[in-house]
Symmetry: C2
Subunit: 296 residues, 2 copies
């Protein structure tokens, strides 16, 4: 696949997600709740998780309506987790996607409620009335999303993160934390896309491996960018891992080794695609590259 | 139905919910997250929402496994909402079910995360692996729960509640707030139970009316108990509506009229059951009585 084609696909996919978010995140929810929800999710972000959903779905000839709903649902979960993570009782951050965080703009109570409502909205989006998405697929998508967002996935990883401040984790513990905190939802994005089509067991396992590798690579690169980039580039506060005394791949192995590790994980992602048996996985391969090569 | 039978059924139903919660709320979630989740939901509460699910399901000869899962899921959503509602940025309450609230016991960050994880867990419980619950029913239950918990239901009602402090709402606005904040999940409990069986359209509409009446009656009685009962009886801080200067049915219409209104709503609930065409709705009728007659 030419990189021009990939860029064009990316822009188109991002645009379709943006339009769907505009449509499905309510502007009229009561007492400015909808305004806070939209502030927290619209018009920002690279939409990496939705891109993974859509690319995986296309690789298995998935149902486009289901894939778009899955893409929006994972982004809603991701956005709610950022809103809660930025709260004073968690990371206490004031800058996100280049704007004041939701709790700064709307107050803590509204930020918490808007996040809560966005998690529920993710499951609403996955369960539309009518027959646009077969009910069995709706249930499968809800199952994958709930497990990746909950105690065994993202929320569990955040609990480990909180409990790890000031500790020296070994690589196994650090990997476990990140696999849950960031990796679970990234992997679920790939698998939800795969669920929208007819992935054979071999392809399913390969996509799970791909998703795990990309998920961890994303976090290793995040740790690197936190120390190498300025807040203006990231659109969020730089240097905060060190400021909060959090264990990271950089604090564990140093910058050069962390970078090598990210490249290894990218290679693992490529290798998983190679054994998947999927004819049309070029976009997934390029997304793995993008995760590792990004500068923000 | 004799009241002895009803009491025995209630105890048995509560016990089955308690056992299921014990089984399905993980004790081993990382970094004490599971401990906080279990603290917030086990061993307390009247389990009214699960009782409504189970009674409605029995009235339509619903699938017991699906009904038990629905019962647990609504209780998880209810419990998470209390955990977040008690946070300092919301109601700032320190007493719940006769114990220190979750944020007092585990800290604010853990309370927020445990609530987040419990919302996800509700959707996990509704989407079990295997064929114990047909996928189409899983999807239907997720759809009902998500809509009642989100911006148009519970979370939206809480946003109105927050925005209404110190305001004099008229009865229409107060009813709208409570229909969302408390009523939506109570009504969803009834409808999720109904979805577990084969409710005909007439029965479905009647159960929706029953659920709406019981949902509002519950809140009117809550407003009454807040001024007439001591904290020890309630297991939560009494008098807090007035303390927070929140509009209530008591502040709007006075104690006697609020009590009459609760009785009217109970009668509406009974009337809805009478037109439902359901042969076996006695437990639902008695649950409506219980909601109005409770003293805590």
């Amino acid at each position: 696949m030419k990189s021009d084609d990939f860029e064009a696909w990316t822009l188109l996919a991002q645009r379709s997600v943006e339009v769907a978010l505009e449509d499905w995140v309510p502007s009229d929810a009561p007492a400015r709740l909808g305004v806070a929800m939209r502030y927290g999710v619209l018009d920002g972000g690279k939409r990496l998780r939705p891109l993974l959903v859509l690319a995986a779905s296309e690789a298995v000839h998935g149902l486009p309506e289901a894939a778009l709903r899955a893409a929006v649902a994972v982004e809603l979960i991701h956005a709610y987790s950022l809103m809660h993570d930025d709260m004073p009782c968690m990371d206490n951050d004031v800058l996100r996607r280049g704007k004041p965080t939701v709790h700064v703009q709307f107050g803590q109570a509204q930020a918490m409620l808007a996040g809560d409502a966005m998690q529920a909205l993710a499951f609403e989006v996955l369960t539309p009335d009518g027959d646009a998405v077969p009910p069995a697929l709706q249930a499968r998508l809800c199952a994958l999303l709930a497990r990746s967002a909950g105690h065994a996935g993202m929320a569990g990883g955040q609990a480990i993160d909180l409990a790890s401040i000031g500790l020296n984790l070994d690589e196994g513990c650090l990997r476990d934390m990140h696999r849950r905190k960031t990796g679970a939802l990234l992997q679920a994005s790939v698998l939800m896309g795969a669920a929208c089509g007819s992935a054979q067991p071999r392809a399913w396992r390969a996509l799970a491996d791909y998703g795990a590798a990309v998920g961890l690579a994303f976090q290793v690169v995040d740790d690197i960018l936190d120390v190498t980039q300025a807040s203006e580039t990231l659109g969020k506060t730089a240097g905060k891992d060190q400021h909060h005394n959090k264990p990271t791949y950089v604090s564990l192995m140093g910058l050069a080794a962390a970078h090598r590790h990210a490249l290894e994980l990218r290679d693992q992602a490529h290798a998983a695609l190679a054994v998947s048996g999927l004819a049309d996985a070029a976009r997934l391969a390029l997304l793995a590259d993008k995760v590792v090569e990004r500068d923000s």
